[in-house]
Structures are given as C-alpha cells and as structure tokens.
C-alpha cells in the first residue's frame, strides 16, 4: 500500500470514528433528556 492509500483509508476510518462518537453521544442514556428537550421547547416558542 502506498502512502496515498494509507492516507485515504485513515481519513475514511477517521470519519467513521467521528460518526460513531456522534451516535454514542447522542444515544447515551445520560444525555437522553437533554437531547430530546429541543423538540418540546420548539413547540412553545411562539405558540
């Protein structure tokens, strides 16, 4: 494998890792209320 391929692969895995971290952070039980709160507060913004 040449350097360019290793770089491509590295970037790809890096992006997947970032995505996995987002999923983990979003679905962590501890964050549930915080991550769902916006859907309620948007309803009372002008109603």
């Amino acid at each position: 494998m040449d350097l360019a391929s290793i770089l491509y692969l590295g970037v790809t895995f890096g992006l997947f890792a970032i995505f996995a971290a987002i999923v983990f952070r979003t679905y962590r039980r501890k964050n549930k209320d915080r991550n769902e709160s916006a859907k309620y507060s948007m309803l009372d913004d002008d109603e």
């Binding site: 979003t26 991550n35 769902e36 859907k39 948007m42």
Partner: protein
C-alpha cells in the same frame, strides 16, 4: 417572558418574491413542455427552448427554491433562537440583491450568455453577485444563531447551518474560472476533472438546496401544524450527520460509464445506496410523529402538504439510489425517466413543503386568517394530480425510450432509428404538458387564495394574535 420583537416585514417580502419567481418557473416550465411537442413554438433567438430551459431551471431552483429558503430561514431562525434577527438592514439588502441577481441571471440567460455547466450557467460577474448575496444571508443567520437565547439547537437549525455552509463551499469551488471578457470565462478545471468537480457541485446542490432546507422546514412546520412534537429528536440528529457524511461522495453517480476513474464511480454508487438510511431516517421520523394524529390528514390542510411532501422525498430517495447503480443507470440515463425523477423532487417534495410553509406563515406575518381552506385543498389536489401525471408519464416514456434504444436486430444492427424513438415520445410529452397546466392552475389558485387573504382575510383568531405577540 417578554416576547422578542421578531422581524416579520422581511419574511413577508421574501414570501412575495419567491412566489413571483415560482410562478415564472412554472410558467416557463409549461412553455418549454409545449415547445417539446410543438417545435415551431419558438421565438428566436431569445425565446427558444435552449434559452428558456436554463431560465426555467434557474428560476425554479434559485428563484423559487432559494427564495423560499430565505423567507423560511429568516422566520424560523428567530423563533428557534428566541431572538430577533441579527441585522434587519442586512436582510433588506439581501432582499433587493436577491431580486437584482435573479433578474441579471434571467436577462443574461435569455441573451445566451452561459458557462454551459448545468445549474451553474451564470457567468462570472453574476457568480460574484451570488457570492455576495449568500454571504450576507449566511452572516445574518449565523450571527442570530450565535446570540440565541435557547441553548439546545433544534434539528432545523442544524439543517439550516449545513445548507448555508454547504452551498458556500460548493459554489466557490465550482465557480473557479478564468474570465476572458465580461461575459465569457473558462473553467479552472480541465476535461474529466471539470466534469467531476461540476457534478460534485450539482449533486450536492441537490443536497444543500433541495434536501437540507426542505428538511429544516419539514421538521419545523410538521410539529407546529399538528401541535405534537416530532417522534425522536435524537433520530433526527443521527439522520442529519449521516446524511452530511454520505452526500458529499455521491456526485459521480451522474458520471457512470464515463472516463471518470472507475473507483470514483463505484464509491459514488455505494454511498448513494447508503443514503437510503439517513433519508428514510427523516421519513420514518415524520411518519412516527403522526402516531395518533393521522386524522389530521383529513382535517388539517397543512398536514396534507407536509406528509405528501415527505412521502415524495421518501420515494425520491429510493428512486435516486436505484438510478445510481451502474446497470440501472445504463438503462435510464439520457432518457425521459430522469426529468420524471427531478420533478417528483421539485414539484412533489420541494414545492409541497414550500407551499405548506407559506400557508403557515402568511396568516402569521400578515395577521389575517387564511381566506379559504377549501381553495387550499383544491390547490393541494391540483398540484398533486398535475405532478403525478407529469412524473408517471415520463417514467413510462423513459422505459419505452430505453427499450427502443437497446432493441437490436439479429444481425446486431439497431431496430429503431433515433427519430423513431423521438416520435414515440410525443404522447408522453403531451401528457407532461397537460400535467404541467394542471399544476399551473393549482399554483394560480394558491396565489389567488393568498392575495385574498391579505386583502380580505378576517382578523386572526386569538391564538394567532397571541402567537405573534400582537395582542
């Protein structure tokens, strides 16, 4: 809590102008669809098919599509951030510059000035206008988000930010050109690279102008219209990030079977198929948000527009990945199937959500009840039927066309001449023109209803007055 004094004047103006450009787009769409069945219907040189077609696509995407984006984003951002617009003056400048840019685009296209890159036809001076326009919009929205009073960002804000940043990057990269004179430039990229960069731009324009903004609006207007929150905010966040992650790699599905390197094509194909997941993440979120609320499909005209809109988005994002597969692409590429796909997206998804947003906003920003709900329902049925006639007839046409192009005699020669395949298209193109006229009538009903709302609509219900803090 005191309500912030939101700026509604600018929202009104953007709604009005986006409707004007939407009408132009649909009208010119109907004209070009008649030009295809009656080739004599041309007034050379300015009003020929070749000049009107880009006028149609630019008025549709940039006049109507982006015009509604401006109106809706400027309304939504203030509500979701619970703070007035950062700079009303800048928004006013944006309004006039928007119209100046669209007019400059229309005039130069009719005069025949074009880069000949589809969806990026405008020559470099107008490109610069587009950049100024977008930067003024972006600064206002981003600054409003920065000084928001609400800590948690609702999903619509994420889609709005993605659209703002995404369009800026795409447009700048694809604009790189060397001017030769005032209205002639040469792309900074050559050959295959040019095509690759261009379709990276064009497909992500679909993502950032025709997908992310209508999703931002859908996520805002659906709960607002039904009165119940979306099913899962967390699902919407995951769908958002995966959509952003995947879209950027898919441009080359427009270039299957071309000299673009095979691995780029395969990558685009794979990511296009993967896109089904985040797209349907939003569709399913929308449907599940209707749990226990499906009766509103009968009672609430806004919900009809929104749910049919997201349904067409769902169908579009199944059809699109299918078209990205090499073997299927070999069959339908260059055929009339593709305009069928496009108009399910633009007329079904983008426009239905735009109509819903405008119906939601007009009573609020003008302080009047909608003039006629039956007319809104009539509008819904006309545009739905018009669009279905349009798309379905073109899908049939595309399959027939592809079948005829591929038909071979025993000796390996082609069974049909190109002319014979063209002649076969006439009934389907006539059906498209007919569907277009129905759609146009629907749009006229919509405009009539809005004009009457502003002129004669009754005073708003107490709930509406309360909503806008005008009591």
């Amino acid at each position: 809590m005191d309500k912030p004094s939101y700026n509604t004047d600018i929202v009104r103006s953007f709604i009005n102008w986006s409707i004007v450009w939407g009408l132009v787009a649909v009208l010119v769409g109907v004209i070009v669809s008649f030009q295809m069945i009656a080739p004599d219907l041309q007034l050379p040189p300015w009003l020929t098919f070749g000049r009107l077609r880009p006028l149609h696509t630019n008025a549709g995407i940039y006049g109507w599509g982006v015009g509604t984006i401006f109106a809706m984003f400027l309304y939504i951002v203030q509500r979701l951030c619970k703070t007035p617009l950062w700079s009303p003056g800048l928004a006013k400048f944006q309004l006039w510059f928007f119209n100046a840019t669209i007019i400059a685009a229309a005039v130069t296209l009719l005069l025949g000035y074009t880069t000949s890159k589809e969806y990026h036809e405008l020559e470099w001076p107008i490109d610069i206008m587009v950049v100024i326009l977008w930067v003024s919009f972006a600064i206002n929205i981003i600054m409003t988000i920065i000084k928001r009073k609400e800590e948690q960002m609702y999903i619509s804000l994420w889609y709005m930010m993605a659209a703002i940043i995404g369009v800026a990057i795409l447009y700048l990269v694809n604009s790189a050109a060397v001017p030769a004179s005032l209205f002639k430039s040469y792309s900074a990229y050559a050959g295959t690279n040019d095509a690759n960069v261009h379709w990276w731009f064009a497909h992500n324009a679909v993502a950032m102008a025709l997908t992310a903004p209508p999703l931002a609006m859908f996520y805002y207007f659906l709960p607002k219209s039904t009165g119940v929150p979306i099913y899962s905010h967390r699902l919407s966040i995951i769908a958002f990030w995966s959509l952003i992650f995947m879209y950027l790699w898919t441009g080359a599905h427009h270039l299957l079977w071309t000299p673009v390197p095979d691995w780029i094509q395969t990558l685009a194909m794979a990511f296009s198929v993967m896109l089904i997941a985040p797209s349907w993440g939003s569709v399913i979120n929308g449907y599940l948000s209707m749990n226990g609320q499906w009766h509103q499909m009968r009672e609430n005209y806004l919900v009809k527009f929104l749910i049919l809109g997201i349904t067409f988005y769902g169908l579009q994002t199944l059809q699109g990945p299918m078209q990205s597969i090499r073997t299927f692409s070999a069959f339908i590429h260059y055929t009339d199937w593709v305009p069928g796909h496009i108009h399910m997206g633009t007329l079904g998804w983008v426009s239905l959500i735009g109509f819903a947003g405008i119906y939601y906003l007009v009573p609020r920003v003008y302080g009047k009840e909608l003039y006629s709900v039956p007319l809104a329902n009539l509008h819904f049925w006309l545009v739905l039927i018009g669009q279905l006639i349009f798309s379905v007839s073109l899908w049939i046409a595309g399959v027939l066309q592809a079948g005829m192009w591929n038909a071979m005699n025993d000796d390996g020669s082609l069974t049909y001449t190109f002319m014979e395949t063209m002649v076969e298209m006439y009934p389907y193109w006539s059906a498209r023109a007919f569907g277009g006229v129905i759609y146009l009538v629907g749009v006229l009903v919509f405009i009539y209803n809005l004009v009457m709302t502003v002129k004669k609509g009754s005073d708003p219900s107490p709930a509406l007055v309360e909503a806008e803090g005008r009591a």
